[in-house]
């Protein structure tokens, strides 16, 4: 039995439809990440689960019980907000214990809980400080501690790391990954950052334009994206796309475009036999390997336009026909701008999409 179920969930503001009938099942103790560009409806979905937004139509179930008519306080959940949403007039201890005090728990119990949670997130020395006297990272911890103190069944995270600077974000992401090993809860996490999604999730739900594009394990979504949007959204640097045509020569299928003609591996070719239309070919930068000796039916010839030095690797922006192609290269490889290099394409790295529907072929 799924812990949380969204059934044909829609949300409209006036005539503007934000969510178009979302169906989603979240299993017990799963860490689910809703990811997508801004405006895709992920935060709205989360806020509807929290009860902070009304449901236009459809239903939300916790343990098979419909809950969309309940107030947030009756849903037994905890939430971490993007701007932390701390109570500015209460010190850290009172922030953490607010929910417990509302429940009128015994004082000793509250104190114990606050102490224990503060220790988990490393705030023991700051309990008497007000949020105004804390750094961004510490405020983030208070928000986390407040959610943990509640002992809720469902944890909601609304872009909790996006207000932190890059270094702190990486550190908090790692801490979150550690925490979720020890805290077995139902967690739903919203982010626009695909790295957070990939590193934290048991299940990723990719959303765009109010629709779920695809859901599954990070590995599954990375290896078998259902459409061009998912393929382009997950992975960094993002996947390269080129327009191509499927042609057959001597029983071998090729994806042919301007300045390239790549053999399609046999496994993929079977399902493509009948498909002779225009396609989009997608190849991740990590599947393009610098190899001057590769044969032309397994390689792209790329003209270097820009080289970005990022340390051990350089990211090269190249041109191939009309397409811009990004590749990665060891920094010590001697290159010159304007030079054309040959990159071998790993055969399992070839993704094909219908040029009209953009669905994976």
């Amino acid at each position: 039995m799924p812990k949380i179920r969204l059934e044909k969930l829609t949300k409209s503001y006036g005539t503007f439809k934000v969510l178009h009938g979302i169906n989603l099942e979240i299993e017990e103790n799963e860490f689910t990440v809703l990811v997508g560009p801004s405006g895709c409806g992920k935060s709205t979905t989360l806020r509807m689960i929290a009860g902070l937004e009304t449901v236009t139509s459809g239903e939300i179930y916790f343990d098979n019980n419909p809950i969309s008519h309940l107030e947030p306080k009756d849903r037994n959940l905890a939430m971490v907000f993007q701007d932390y949403a701390l109570y500015p007039h209460m010190d850290v201890a009172r922030n953490i214990s607010f929910a417990l005090r509302l429940q009128k728990l015994p004082k000793a119990e509250i104190e114990n809980k606050v102490k224990q949670v503060a220790e988990t997130v490393g705030l023991t020395n700051f309990l008497s400080r007000k949020p105004g006297a804390l750094s961004g990272g510490q405020r983030q911890r208070v928000a986390m501690a407040r959610a943990l103190a509640k002992d809720s069944e469902v944890f909601l995270f609304d872009e909790p790391l996006s207000n932190l600077d890059a270094k702190l974000r990486g550190q908090m992401r790692a801490e979150l990954a550690v925490m979720r090993q020890s805290v077995k809860k139902n967690m739903i996490y919203v982010t626009h950052d695909q790295i957070e999604a990939m590193t934290l999730a048991d299940r990723i739900v990719v959303m765009n334009d109010g629709h779920i594009q695809q859901q599954g394990t990070p590995e599954m979504l990375f290896k078998k994206p259902a459409n061009k949007f998912v393929a382009g959204f997950l992975g960094s640097p993002p996947m390269n796309f080129m327009d191509a045509r499927i042609v057959e020569e001597n029983d071998v299928l090729f994806a042919e475009g301007k300045e390239f003609k790549i053999a399609i591996p046999k496994k993929k070719a079977k399902s493509l036999k009948k498909y002779k239309g225009r396609v989009i070919i997608g190849i991740r930068p990590s599947d393009l390997i610098y190899d001057p000796k590769a044969t032309s039916d397994r390689a792209l010839d790329l003209r270097i336009v820009v080289s970005e030095y990022v340390g051990a690797q350089s990211v090269l922006m190249c041109a191939c026909g009309d397409s811009d192609i990004t590749v990665e290269l060891k920094s010590e490889t001697p290159i010159a701008l304007g030079e054309t290099l040959r990159f071998a394409v790993r055969s399992e790295g070839i993704h094909l999409f219908d040029s009209k529907t953009e669905l994976a072929l």
Binding site: L52, K73, F81, Q82, A85, P88, F98, L102, G132, A133
Partner: protein, 289 residues
């Protein structure tokens, strides 16, 4: 720089000095002030033991505390109720603000006629229900002028508290909802404490105003019956014009000025404390990182 400062000081302090100077004299409006007799602190001491002045002080204090308290409760209450996006809310909000835009003299006249014992709106309404009329501007005069002032000035507190409410961090209130707070608990534990700085300053502003109130009461009751609504400003003006005791009136004004100064200084002190606290926190954070 220097000439400007001298002009400002003269413009500000000359009238004030004139009043203080006059308060030490037995000064009659027919005399030139320099001809009047110097009496030292006599005016102040006489006032101190003057039952009419004391009565006036008590009336003013009662009036000020009652109106500010009622206006706070009603104004903040209304703001809490209307802090949502409902259709037509902007029209409703504008309506609420109207009383504040009417000249005090007009407000006084309006209420005086509504309170009229026989043809006034209130007693006519009461009578149509078969009830006895109320002697609004007689034995209930103080209550009646308080009601009129509350009617006129509650919108001021309403607007400021609504603005304060709407600038509260939305997500903190959402977090409280998630934490299990009922609407009432959100108000008590989150909204009111966060609005407090604005409310304190608003209340002090209103208190200062209430101590100086004149027109509405002058038009409605002229301080009567007896001394029951004779607030300080009215007493001062009567002392100067009817009793022709300018020196005593000046001394009275100085007593009022001292009260207002205390209120004003405490208001600045409170805002200052808040600012300092914010600055200290900012420094503390900077030092740590």
């Amino acid at each position: 720089m220097a000439p400007a400062i001298i002009i400002i000081i003269l413009a500000l302090l000359y009238p004030l000095g004139y009043m203080v100077y006059g308060s030490f004299r037995a000064w009659d409006p027919s005399q030139n002030i320099s001809e009047s007799e110097f009496v030292g602190l006599k005016n102040y001491i006489t006032l101190f033991y003057d039952p009419a002045f004391r009565e006036s002080l008590v009336v003013t204090l009662t009036f000020a505390v009652c109106v500010v308290f009622s206006e706070l409760v009603i104004g903040v209450g209304l703001a809490l109720m209307l802090d949502r996006n409902i259709r037509g809310m902007s029209v409703l909000r504008t309506l609420f603000i109207l009383p504040m835009m009417i000249a005090p003299v007009v407000v006084g006249l309006m209420w005086r006629y509504m309170y009229h014992p026989t043809v006034g709106t209130f007693n006519k309404t009461l009578k149509s229900f078969g009830l006895d009329g109320i002697d609004w501007l007689g034995q209930n005069a103080l209550l009646s002028v308080i009601i009129a002032d509350v009617w006129q000035w509650t919108p001021f507190i309403f607007i400021l508290s609504l603005a304060a409410l709407q600038s509260l961090p939305r997500s903190a209130i959402e977090a409280a909802k998630i934490d299990g707070a009922t609407s009432w608990q959100q108000i008590i534990h989150i909204k009111l404490p966060l609005m407090m700085p604005v409310l304190i300053v608003t209340a002090l502003l209103r208190l200062i105003d209430a101590f100086k109130v004149l027109e509405v009461i002058l038009v409605m009751t002229e301080g009567g019956p007896g001394l029951s609504t004779e607030i300080l400003a009215l007493r001062i003006s009567r002392t100067a014009t009817e009793f022709r005791e300018l020196g005593v009136a000046a001394a009275m004004s100085n007593y009022l000025l001292i009260i207002l100064l205390i209120l004003t200084v405490s208001m600045y002190a409170i805002t200052r404390i808040q600012e300092n606290r914010a600055a200290r926190l900012a420094r503390q954070i900077q030092e740590e990182y």
